[in-house]
């Protein structure tokens, strides 16, 4: 117990001690207290330092990059060939690749995730729920490289049977596995949001003669909408930042094709490609790493902030 280390805490049992000695010991405790508090405070500043380091690093290297390449070319160029001659630094193909994988993943994860959340919160018995929720959490905990394996050895072969002209590396397969990957997140977060809707709202609607479908779609989901929307946005932000599954499944071909049957390259898989190769540090090709990462960081940050704003601003507070 702490009393043994700090005898003055049990001061009454030591009458022999003079008041002066006690106050010296007391100040020793306070100094210790202060030291511990400073240690705890400095630990919590690590998170601030991390953020500062990320922002400063990304911005400074990106500014260096923009000394070599004009921002106009970077943001509006439609050819991305930074690693070989003639080099061209239009980032749009990478953004496009990220976009179609994300849209595809969202089209899979959002409806199925919401339907699962509705089942869990509105229809499932407690026993069902306590079976399914851990399974969903388990799905959410599977490393992304495993989903990459799943894409290459399972999803793509199935797709090739259905669509014979699909490439070995293709955006569709990546979108499907990323969708599966973020589905549990949508389901569990939306489930939490729907369960926070008070039972009295449901009972009110049932009392007016509504069916379970009407109660769910017109009362429960609208009431929990802020949490549901936030889960969608976080899932989208995770899909954008997803790296390994996309790198393995979608290939390394930056292009702006509308077809999901072709190989594409996302922002994240470009970063992996550069770091796996032996690009010398300091050159323009190395700087592209930071320019692309800054863009990625900015996009996900904006989405995360919007989702937090939705949660804070539109949260319905029920007494």
């Amino acid at each position: 117990m702490a009393q043994e280390e700090y005898p003055d805490a049990a001061g009454a049992s030591q009458p022999a001690e003079s008041p002066a000695a006690r106050s010296i010991k007391k100040s020793g405790v306070l100094w210790g207290e202060l030291a511990i508090k400073s240690w705890l405070a400095s630990c919590s500043f690590i998170s601030i330092v991390t953020t500062a380091a990320i922002v400063i690093l990304l911005l400074s290297e990106t500014l260096n990059f923009f000394e070599n390449v004009s921002p106009g070319e970077f943001f509006f160029g439609t050819t991305w060939t930074p690693l070989f001659e003639p080099s061209s630094f239009g980032v749009l193909p990478l953004v496009w690749g990220t976009l179609i994988v994300t849209i595809g993943a969202a089209l899979i994860a959002i409806p199925t995730g919401l339907a699962s959340a509705i089942y869990l919160s509105e229809y499932a018995s407690d026993r069902m729920r306590s079976t399914i929720k851990p399974v969903l959490e388990l799905l959410a905990g599977i490393p992304t490289v495993v989903y990459g394996y799943f894409a290459l050895t399972f999803v793509t072969p199935v797709l090739r049977n259905v669509f014979p002209d699909i490439q070995v590396f293709n955006a569709l397969s990546a979108a499907i596995v990323v969708g599966i990957m973020v589905l549990p997140m949508v389901a569990t977060m939306s489930d939490n949001a729907l369960r926070a809707v008070p039972i009295s709202l449901r009972q009110g609607a049932y009392a007016l003669g509504a069916t379970s479908y009407e109660v769910t779609t017109r009362v429960v989901v609208p009431a929990g909408l802020s949490g549901v929307m936030a889960s969608f946005l976080l899932a989208i932000s995770r899909a954008i930042g997803e790296t390994m599954a996309v790198t393995l499944a979608a290939g390394q071909t930056p292009n702006m094709s509308l077809s999901m049957f072709e190989s594409i390259q996302t922002m994240t898989s470009y970063i992996v490609q550069v770091s796996l190769g032996d690009t010398p540090s300091g050159g323009v090709a190395y700087q592209t790493l930071f320019a692309v990462a800054t863009l990625l960081f900015a996009i996900t940050l904006v989405i995360n902030i919007i989702s937090q704003m939705i949660l804070n601003r539109f949260r319905e507070v029920y007494e």
């Binding site: 702490a2 705890l40 919590s44 690590i46 399974v135 799943f150 479908y213 390994m244 393995l248």
Partner: protein
């Protein structure tokens, strides 16, 4: 125009049919995602099980699939996770204690709170770039275990902080007041009462965070964990490989045998993760029962 009774009952019938259909639809969707997990696990196990033997666990990677194993990756992952735990648990729990017990509700704690929430959403590959620039290059730690561990610690810190804070929040204020009334200082109260009371919750969060760091691949690729390591690391400054890196390497090769090796590696990885998750769930259930 008023509806006849027959029309009304048909309308009602239709609404109820819609409701039934919707319920079945939602259940089907949910169960199919559970089924998907089963398919995934089945697929992995039939592919990989044949390769999974002692030889696989105890061999170094090789160009020849039949001689290849996961030894260096397994040892690398154990090293990495131990270092990450040593770094991230004290820092993460300290931060949570500071925010909940010491910082008050002022501006600084609000800033740190928002900051941690945003850090939790930063893509893992961005942490990889940070680790590459700061630890590998700037501090010249090279492509070593310690670079990987520091990078991974930064990555999971927000998770540990958020989970620990939630756990600390559940400690009733009465416990603190009782300690204060006996003359305990703030730290004595925190150390002797708040921390033990929130310990199970903190442990659950820590285990889940560590299991996330076992599976993370992208940051390790960024800081340059090697894909072909035929030796075991002996200290934090040695270069290393880890299980997800080895799996990535095998998956990205064209030969079928290597895909099956990857499946065997995935079985080992998932077994480790499952064991950690089960521990976390066990701790959670036990404390839930005790709280009641």
């Amino acid at each position: 125009m008023p509806l006849t009774t027959e029309q009304e009952s048909r309308h009602l019938e239709k609404r109820h049919r819609k409701a039934r259909f919707f319920a079945i639809f939602c259940a089907a969707i949910t169960w199919s995602s559970v089924l998907l997990l089963a398919v995934l696990l089945y697929q992995v196990s039939i592919e990989g099980f044949r390769w999974l033997d002692w030889q696989f666990i105890s061999s170094f990677p090789s160009r020849f699939p039949e001689r290849a194993g996961i030894k260096s990756a397994l040892v690398g992952t154990i090293w990495l996770i131990s270092l990450v735990a040593l770094i991230s648990i004290p820092v993460g729990v300290s931060t949570a204690l500071y925010l909940e017990e010491f910082a008050g509700k002022g501006k600084i704690s609000k800033i740190i709170e928002v900051n941690v929430a945003n850090l939790a959403g930063v893509p893992s590959i961005v942490y990889g770039i940070l680790g590459l620039a700061i630890f590998v290059r700037f501090f010249a730690l090279e492509r070593s275990l310690i670079s990987g561990a520091l990078t991974m610690s930064l990555l999971i810190l927000p998770v540990i902080i958020i989970a620990s804070r939630e756990a600390i929040k559940t400690v009733p204020q009465g416990i603190r007041n009782a300690a204060y009334s006996l003359g305990a200082t703030k730290w004595q109260t925190t150390w002797a009462h708040v921390l033990p009371a929130s310990f199970p919750g903190i442990m659950t969060g820590v285990i889940l965070a560590l299991s996330r760091s076992i599976g993370e691949t992208a940051p390790l690729i960024m800081i340059g964990a090697m894909t072909f390591v035929a030796f075991l690391p002996e200290g934090p400054m040695d270069s290393f490989t880890a299980m997800p890196i080895q799996i990535y390497n095998w998956v990205s090769r064209p030969q079928e045998e290597f895909h099956e090796l990857a499946a065997a590696g995935i079985i080992v990885l998932l077994a480790v993760l499952l064991a950690m998750n089960a521990t976390a769930i066990f701790i959670r259930n036990r404390t839930e029962r005790r709280m009641k």
